[in-house]
């Protein structure tokens, strides 16, 4: 197991480097322009100077290595300095990865966005799981019952209707007509007492519900399929033959076995919490990581998009590894060498 882990970790490094290169090349090839959103009155000569000042006219490999150095050396050093308060080397003149749009360090932007993304998207993920698992299990256990039919129907609707649509419907019902919830999320809101906590709950409810509904829909389908499969396996029949009650078979045996692929699914989905939910964030103005990414893409902010995408890549690789490890621990049939 340990050997397997170290081997995987060893491979992760070149994988990530290849990814960083592919990302950089892709973003470089994309015909986008950071001066595209400037007013029409700004002449081409000025635009050219702006591109020059951003370093856009330097050759590809120089820009790539510059980014590598800034991202892998300067940023970690800076982080260490900030946490420990020590000064390492010449920190004044150390260049950081800067967003073209804001001219500020990308890492600071990301840190600023994390709270709202984790709260809204993270919470919706957990709520989604909590809704999906019982529905999936009961639907499978009572296959073709009315509960299963309705559950299937609702989860399919949840899956097939885009969140920009559900979000808008919720805003029209709960914000415009009933005035229960605010339609925009205030990221500067600080929770300090009960009323402010209550406001936080209110402003999170709609985005969390929209996302949770969407997440639950997918997951409950997988849970149902997985339980169904186990229901027909030999060990269940054996257990039944031994006279065990259905309920205890379901809870003790089937659930454990059918959770295996579902847990993998859940672990694999964790990075999507950090990558944010682009559309839901747009609709409710949660302005988290997803919104940061799409702003970056729309304004051709290459350092921002590159760094964000690379961080996503790191998260995904990590959680894939984690999913494999969990699978190995839970399923003794799989051997890692």
């Amino acid at each position: 197991m340990l050997k397997y882990l170290s081997k995987r970790l060893f491979f992760a490094v070149p994988t990530l480097i290849v990814i960083s290169f592919v990302l950089f090349a892709l973003l470089d090839l994309a015909p986008n322009d950071p001066t595209g959103n400037l007013p029409q009155t700004i002449p081409q000569e000025v635009r050219e100077e702006i591109r020059e000042s951003l370093g856009l006219n330097k050759p590809f490999h120089i820009r790539y290595f510059k980014w590598m150095q800034q991202f892998f050396v300067n940023e970690p050093l800076n982080l260490i300095e900030e946490v420990t308060g020590l000064e390492i080397g010449d920190s004044e003149s150390r260049l950081r990865v800067r967003s073209w749009l804001t001219r500020s360090p990308v890492v600071d932007l990301i840190i600023e966005r994390l709270p709202q993304t984790l709260w809204v998207v993270g919470l919706s993920y957990i709520v989604g799981i909590m809704i999906a698992l019982p529905i999936g299990v009961i639907s499978a256990y009572k296959q073709y019952s009315w509960f299963d039919q309705i559950g299937t129907f609702i989860s399919m609707v949840g899956f097939s209707v885009p969140t920009f649509f559900t979000g808008l419907v919720m805003i029209i019902i709960f914000s415009v007509t009933l005035s229960w919830f605010p339609s925009t999320y205030d990221t500067t809101h600080v929770v300090k007492d009960f009323p402010s906590f209550w406001f936080q709950v209110k402003q999170m409810t709609m985005p969390v519900m929209v996302l949770a509904f969407y997440n639950a829909a997918q997951l409950s389908r997988f849970m149902r399929a997985s339980v169904l499969e186990n229901l027909n396996l030999d060990y269940v029949r054996t257990a039944r033959a031994k006279g065990l009650r259905d309920r205890s078979i379901l809870l003790k045996h089937i659930l454990r076995n059918s959770m295996l692929p579902v847990i993998t699914m859940i672990a694999l989905g964790v990075p999507t919490i950090f990558t944010g939910a682009i559309i839901t964030e747009q609709v409710f103005r949660v302005n988290g990581i997803g919104q940061l990414l799409i702003t970056g893409i729309q304004s051709a902010d290459i350092p921002l998009v590159q760094s964000l995408s690379f961080l996503f890549a790191v998260l995904i690789v990590t959680f894939n590894l984690l999913a494999d490890v969990i699978y190995g621990i839970l399923d003794p049939r799989i051997k890692y060498e």
């Binding site: 986008n32 595209g36 702006i50 000042s53 209550w198 747009q282 302005n287």
Partner: protein, 570 residues
């Protein structure tokens, strides 16, 4: 994060839905603004769009503003320079500004001419990549005559010397704060760029890039008892329609900016009665550019859409009859009704305002006439074939019509396609991502400068209230081509000796009435040669809540220009 508190939290929220609403009895002194494009920086010289300039305009200010009628109003200066009061030199080679002596930066220090001189140096530094650099066009130097007097010298006579430090695009920065931020270092001064010290009514309290800005009232503001609001929040994100909804339907915000939304949608929201829709016209005109050069895709890179001294004319758009018919066939009022509503008016000029510059010679374009258009084409020898498309000598009237991706523009495209179909012109539609189309990257084939299409549509305008620089755009020498890296504002590639001669006269004329007359003539040449087909005079559209008073929308400068006078009345 454990699960049980979360369940409780959700349960609570469902139980107590709506039961809790705290409304304070006093008048709310917090002003909430919604910009669906969020501000990215508060340094207007490094801005990436109008949103940044607007968000910064309530903190840092120029020497003078434009008011809603495009008149100059002194802000940090005591008066507007004129030749009469002696502040503009007789030869138009310099202009002198007298600063108000009672202006204090929000950190308590005095505003002096050193700040003004520094702002010029900051923006014109060649490595700075300054967005406002065009304001300083032809500026030789900015000199501090004394602590409160600044003289701007021009390299050649400048009949319109109000580029520098007039309007929100070219404000005054504090020397003390930005002195170490010249050139490439401008990028590294994040603290200064996000929290600029200004002379305006508000101070930045918290800045979250691409998300939210919080301001508080500036205690050093020059006008006693102002601003009336104690705090301001600018929230960003989302799209225009939902921004309008947050003001007009839910009433969560006091004001929303730039609402290009289908007119019936906006009307419907307005019916909720919580706010009103405001419009202000400036110089923006949505127009169709008619390519005067051959854009045949089979031509090589040095020939396609390149002017070549007129030797590369478009196979059929070089025929003025075809261009006239295209313009005559368009019903501009329908385009307005469907795509713009209160946000647009039909126009026949490329200079739609200020009033004195508007030509009255082209009004006939407002009455479309399909029959006349058909007659013109028929007479010119363009005959309908069996497929309904007109042709002459094997050349078919088949157009590629491109614009940026935007639902209103695509709607307009479809409508115009239908109108042109009625005069036997076939149209292929194409839309290009706005960032690419407007970006002007010489490496991309899809920019508006390359114009690899027969006609293209977008909005253009001029900065400030004087179109002198703008009309220079149509000079023969300003045609973009591979030699000049596709730089040049003469996009339609129209060229006439008459026009260029008139421009020369303009540059030697200093009498303002004569200048106005010449500029009108230049407008008429562009429109009557149909290098461009003006369609719609576009307005800025914003929404404000009923309780917000003292608001005046402005089509020429920052929409927040009177924010110090805004107040709330329930």
């Amino acid at each position: 994060m454990s699960r049980s508190p979360l369940i409780a939290l959700i349960a609570l929220s469902i139980l107590f839905l709506g039961s809790c609403s705290q409304e304070s009895a006093e008048v709310d002194t917090n002003l909430r603004l919604l910009y669906w494009q969020a501000p990215s920086t508060l340094n207007p010289y490094l801005s990436s769009g109008t949103k940044d300039i607007e968000a910064a305009s309530i903190v840092i200010e120029p020497l003078a503003h434009y008011d809603a009628n495009a008149k100059k109003v002194p802000i940090l200066a005591t008066r507007i320079p004129t030749v009469e009061n002696g502040d503009i030199a007789e030869d138009y080679r310099s202009i002198t500004w007298h600063l108000r002596q009672d202006i204090v930066w929000s950190d308590g220090t005095q505003l002096t001419s050193a700040d003004v001189v520094f702002s010029w140096r900051y923006c014109t530094h060649e490595e700075a990549g300054c967005t406002g650099k065009d304001s300083f066009r032809d500026v030789e130097q900015v000199v501090a005559v004394d602590d409160y007097t600044v003289r701007i010298d021009f390299t050649k006579p400048a009949p319109f010397p109000f580029g520098p430090f007039v309007g929100s695009v070219s404000p005054v920065l504090q020397y003390q704060q930005f002195k170490d931020c010249l050139g490439l270092r401008a990028q590294e001064c994040t603290e200064a760029n996000f929290y600029p010290i200004g002379t305006g009514p508000f101070i930045v309290e918290e800045f979250k890039a691409n998300d939210t800005v919080r301001y508080k009232a500036n205690p050093h503001y020059r006008e006693e008892g102002k601003p009336f609001f104690q705090t301001v929040i600018i929230k960003g994100g989302g799209d225009a329609a939902s921004a309008a909804r947050a003001v007009l339907q839910t009433g969560e915000f006091d004001y929303a900016w730039n609402l290009q939304v289908e007119p019936e949608v906006l009307d419907n929201m307005r019916n909720a009665g919580k706010g009103e829709v405001l419009t202000a016209f400036g110089s923006q005109v949505e127009r169709i550019m008619v390519n005067q050069t051959n854009e045949d895709p089979s031509l090589d890179a040095d020939t396609r859409s390149v002017y070549l001294d007129g030797n590369n004319a478009h196979p059929f758009l070089s025929d003025i009859n075809v261009r006239r018919a295209l313009s005559l066939a368009i019903d501009r009022q329908i385009l307005v009704d469907i795509g713009y509503g209160v946000a647009g008016q039909p126009t026949c000029n490329v200079i739609p305002l200020p009033e004195q510059y508007v030509s009255t010679n082209n009004e006939d374009c407002k009455t479309p006439n399909i029959d006349e258009a058909n007659r013109i084409l028929e007479e010119a020898g363009w005959v309908k074939g069996s497929d309904g498309v007109r042709a002459k000598d094997g050349v078919r009237l088949s157009l590629l019509y491109q614009t940026s991706t935007n639902s209103v523009r695509q709607g307009t495209q479809s409508l115009i396609k239908g109108m042109w179909q009625e005069i036997g012109v076939e149209t292929e539609l194409r839309n290009i991502d706005a960032a690419v189309f407007f970006g002007g990257d010489p490496g991309s084939p899809d920019t508006l400068q390359k114009f690899f299409a027969d006609v293209q549509m977008y909005t253009n305008n001029f900065e400030g209230n004087d179109p002198s620089n703008y009309v220079e755009g149509w000079q023969c020498g300003n045609v973009p081509d591979p030699q000049n890296q596709w730089v040049g504002p003469n996009i339609s590639r129209g060229c006439s000796e008459e026009f260029d001669a008139l421009l020369d006269t303009l540059s030697e004329t200093f009498d303002s009435d004569e200048r106005v007359a010449i500029i009108k003539q230049l407008n008429d040449i562009v429109v009557q040669s149909i290098w461009e087909i003006p369609l719609i005079h576009r307005a800025r559209v914003s929404a404000k809540s009923n309780s917000l008073k003292g608001f005046e929308l402005n089509g020429w400068d920052s929409e927040l220009w009177t924010i110090a006078d805004w107040y709330r009345e329930e």
